[in-house]
């Protein structure tokens, strides 16, 4: 939320698509709402059942004063809706904030986090230890270690959203 605020200071209201059935989605939504409050951004969680719901929500976001979409960790959203979210957001010119640099390549405006490859690489060591018979209690949690800020310049330009040029110096990778 801090980076979103730095890049897009004009955005004051965003949507978070969540799936209440998933505990992780609920926790991530709560954290996002709390973080938004710190930077003066209203985060509205919305649950959609299918693609029609999704299109209806996104098509009315501008009218309702929403300036962007934030995608939080959620199995359903990340795996089944992301491509539709990116498609409709592009159509309705709404910037999307994602968690994985790969999503920026697919059309996400800004992504901040560790790539799926990096996470898999890091997790593979843990998996290997478990597969070799090590006790789960002996394997500690690990934080992701390679976090990148990636911006899709083409999408940013096409959406015509106002952004902070200085904040772009924080970007690790710009996808042309």
């Amino acid at each position: 939320m801090e980076i979103l605020h730095k890049l897009f200071p004009s955005i004051k209201k965003v949507v978070v698509f969540c799936t209440p059935q998933f505990e992780a989605s609920k926790v991530a939504t709560k954290i996002t709402v709390k973080a938004g409050e710190r930077y003066g951004i209203k985060v509205v969680p919305i649950s959609v059942r299918d693609v029609l719901d999704l299109e209806y929500v996104i098509s009315h976001m501008r009218e309702d004063g929403f300036g962007g979409i934030v995608i939080t960790p959620c199995f359903y959203t990340e795996n089944f809706l992301t491509s539709y979210i990116l498609q409709y957001a592009s159509f309705y010119q709404l910037p999307v904030f994602c968690l994985s640099p790969e999503q920026a390549k697919k059309g996400c405006t800004v992504a901040y986090g560790s790539s799926g490859y990096q996470q898999g690489y890091q997790a593979s060591f843990i998996a290997y230890r478990l597969l070799k018979g090590e006790q789960v209690k002996n394997v500690p949690f690990e934080k992701v270690r390679n976090i990148k800020l990636v911006v899709n310049e083409r999408v940013l330009r096409e959406q015509g959203v106002q952004y902070n040029q200085i904040a772009l110096s924080l970007v690790d990778q710009i996808i042309p």
Partner: protein
């Protein structure tokens, strides 16, 4: 104390098992020591390599930080932006802060936290790389804060303080192949800074190595149990397979021993019973000992019996042959070899049919059979008996020589014939002598009294013929004398004349003329058996007459040569084939239709008795027989 063989085998089995168990544990103990020693050696090398790698990784991070700070500052980035970049570019670096030259906090940045915790004021302002301390986050990951002085164009600008994730560093040096290994990073006072603990145990093997350039110590420990796992596995496997193999062997052993001992027990009992009957005392500690003693006794008895049988076999007067069922001669006795003048190797291994015409594998008795040894033939009678000896079934041939018996029979036959002729001649001579005497007396009276010359001449003829008849009668009486084989002074000329006279009737009947010429002193004598000489001459001249055709002649010559009387008898018949010349003196060889084949063999034997010699030659026409007898040698 008598211990049975079963008990001995059980004791041996137990002993082997004990040895096996002791060797297992001994090997296990040695293996344990070797494993511990090897673990210490290998892990010492490993921990040393790991500590070196940790040290070099840390130096590399500091070097990277210096390089990137210089790079980004040249690009004109602010300290906050530089810190952001550092946390993105260097793995394990997630946050950092910038202090001015007096140690006041000016800027900070973190990729994970909005407000990272940094001291407001640095305690150390030395312009060198320093480790400021350690920090743990909410996940328990340990960070070390490194202070790096910032120089721009050799102008000291301040300090960058960067947090480096030690967990990340340690995992980079940690080998995943170590499953049960615990890794510790200790500080200078021995407190655990960081641990990658995988195993909990009471007993550990532990090695450590200092990390260069720091006051840290890297420690690797592994449970004693894990290190010695191969030894325990060996013990388990050895015990398992040893138990299985021993059990299997035991079962097999039990079955085999059972199968061996059951008949052995029965054999032992029966032998003991037999020995009790034989009253043989056996001494032995177990069944095998008793059996071996019994068998030894049996073998000795068999050997003695075999020796007796061999003595009987060899000592028999008759020839004995042991012949296999296939007809191969396996053994021959001494009597056979001596009687037929042959060597053992010429007989043994040959087929019986090569020697005996009537070779048979049945029990039989052959009254007369022809036995051929080399070029000689013998008349034998054969008795065969089947016998079982150790090598199998055989036939025992008992061979009795009948050759001499047959010869004697012939002589007896001839002698009996001559004897009858002699008796008849004697009788006739007695009957003729009285009329002849009257004829001679009256013829002499007429010859002396009458004046008529013609009558006187005829009376003279009657006188001469009567005298001649009287002479013939006298000869008949001489021939009828009883056979006497003793040597005596004889006249060879007279003997020859008498024999020719005797055979002249046969010659005349066949129209064969006998021509006798003598080139010796007609009164010369020699010591010899007249009967044997007569038999020799009769046989030879008779054979010549038989071989001659009608109208042919037989020449008989008597001469003196090299102190020997030599008779040459020649006929003009067909002679004898050259290949048969050597056989003619063998018994039962004959070319005559009704011949016995014994005549010339007798001639040969008689001449051998008299130190004489006989030889035969085929001439251009007929056969020539030469007989020589030494005059001075007593025969």
């Amino acid at each position: 104390m008598r211990v049975s063989l079963k008990t001995k085998i059980l004791l041996l089995f137990t002993f082997v098992l004990t040895i096996q168990g002791i060797s297992y544990f001994h090997h296990f103990y040695i293996l344990k020591q070797e494993l511990v020693q090897r673990w210490n050696e290998e892990t010492n090398v490993l921990v040393s390599i790991m500590s070196d790698k940790l040290s070099s990784l840390l130096e590399e991070k500091v070097s990277q930080i210096n390089t990137l700070i210089a790079k980004y500052e040249r690009l004109g980035l602010s300290p906050e932006e530089v810190l952001w970049r550092l946390s993105g570019d260097i793995a394990g670096v997630s946050e950092g802060a910038f202090y001015d030259t007096s140690g006041r906090l000016l800027a900070f940045s973190s990729r994970l936290k909005t407000m990272p915790e940094f001291e407001k004021q640095l305690s150390s302002l030395l312009e060198r790389v320093e480790r400021l301390g350690y920090q743990k986050d909410s996940y328990g990951e340990l960070y070390i804060r490194i202070k790096v002085p910032d120089f721009q164009d050799n102008v000291f600008k301040g300090f960058y303080v960067v947090s480096i994730n030690l967990n990340s560093l340690l995992e980079d040096v940690y080998s995943l192949s170590f499953q049960h290994v615990n890794l510790y990073l200790l500080d200078s006072s021995g407190r655990t800074l960081l641990s990658l603990q995988h195993t909990v145990s009471k007993n550990f093997l532990r090695v450590s190595s200092p990390v260069k350039g720091t006051d840290w110590t890297l420690v690797i420990e592994e449970p004693y149990q894990t290190v010695l796992e191969p030894a325990y596995q060996f013990l388990l496997r050895a015990f398992f397979f040893g138990f299985l193999s021993t059990l299997g062997l035991g079962v097999i052993f039990f079955l085999v021993i059972g199968r061996i001992f059951k008949p052995l027990d029965r054999l032992k009992e029966s032998l003991l019973e037999w020995n009790e009957k034989r009253r043989i005392s056996l001494q032995g500690s177990d069944e095998i000992g008793m059996l071996s003693k019994t068998f030894e006794e049996l073998v000795n008895r068999l050997e003695r019996e075999k020796e007796v049988y061999m003595n009987i076999f060899n000592g028999s007067v008759d020839g004995m042959l042991l012949v296999s069922k296939e007809g191969k001669i396996k053994r021959v006795n001494k009597s056979f070899l001596e009687r037929y003048s042959v060597k053992e190797e010429e007989i043994v291994g040959r087929d019986i049919s090569q020697f005996l015409e009537h070779g048979s594998h049945q029990t039989l008795f052959i009254p007369e059979a022809l036995l051929t040894i080399g070029s000689k033939r013998y008349v034998v009678n054969v008795c065969t008996v089947p016998i079982n000896v150790e090598e199998g079934e055989f036939l025992l041939y008992q061979i009795r020589d009948l050759t001499e018996k047959k010869e004697l029979e012939l002589i007896l036959y001839r002698t009996s014939k001559l004897s009858l002729a002699g008796e008849m001649a004697c009788c006739m001579a007695h009957q003729l002598n009285n009329p002849l005497a009257s004829i001679l007396v009256y013829a002499e009276y007429i010859h002396n009294t009458v004046q008529d010359e013609k009558l006187r001449e005829k009376a003279g003829i009657i006188m001469r013929q009567a005298l001649k008849s009287a002479e013939t009668v006298k000869k008949l009486l001489d021939m009828a004398k009883v056979f006497d084989g003793k040597p005596q002074e004889i006249n060879p000329y007279s003997i020859t004349r008498e024999v020719i006279e005797l055979l002249s009737f046969k010659a005349r009947r066949k129209r064969v003329s006998l021509e006798f010429t003598a080139d010796i002193n007609t009164h010369a004598g020699m010591m010899c058996s007249s009967w044997k000489l007569e038999q020799v001459l009769i046989n030879v001249i008779e054979n010549a007459i038989d071989a001659s055709q009608q109208g042919q002649k037989v020449e008989i010559k008597l001469k003196w040569e090299n102190s020997c009387f030599v008779w040459t008898v020649r006929d003009y018949g067909e002679g004898i084939p050259e290949e048969d010349l050597q056989k003619v003196f063998e018994p039962f060889y004959t070319t005559k239709k009704d011949g016995t084949g014994l005549g010339l063999s007798l001639v040969k034997r008689f001449l051998d008795d008299m130190n004489g010699n006989i030889s035969m030659y085929n001439t251009q026409k007929g056969l020539e027989v030469v007989i020589s007898l030494p005059s001075k040698t007593q025969c």
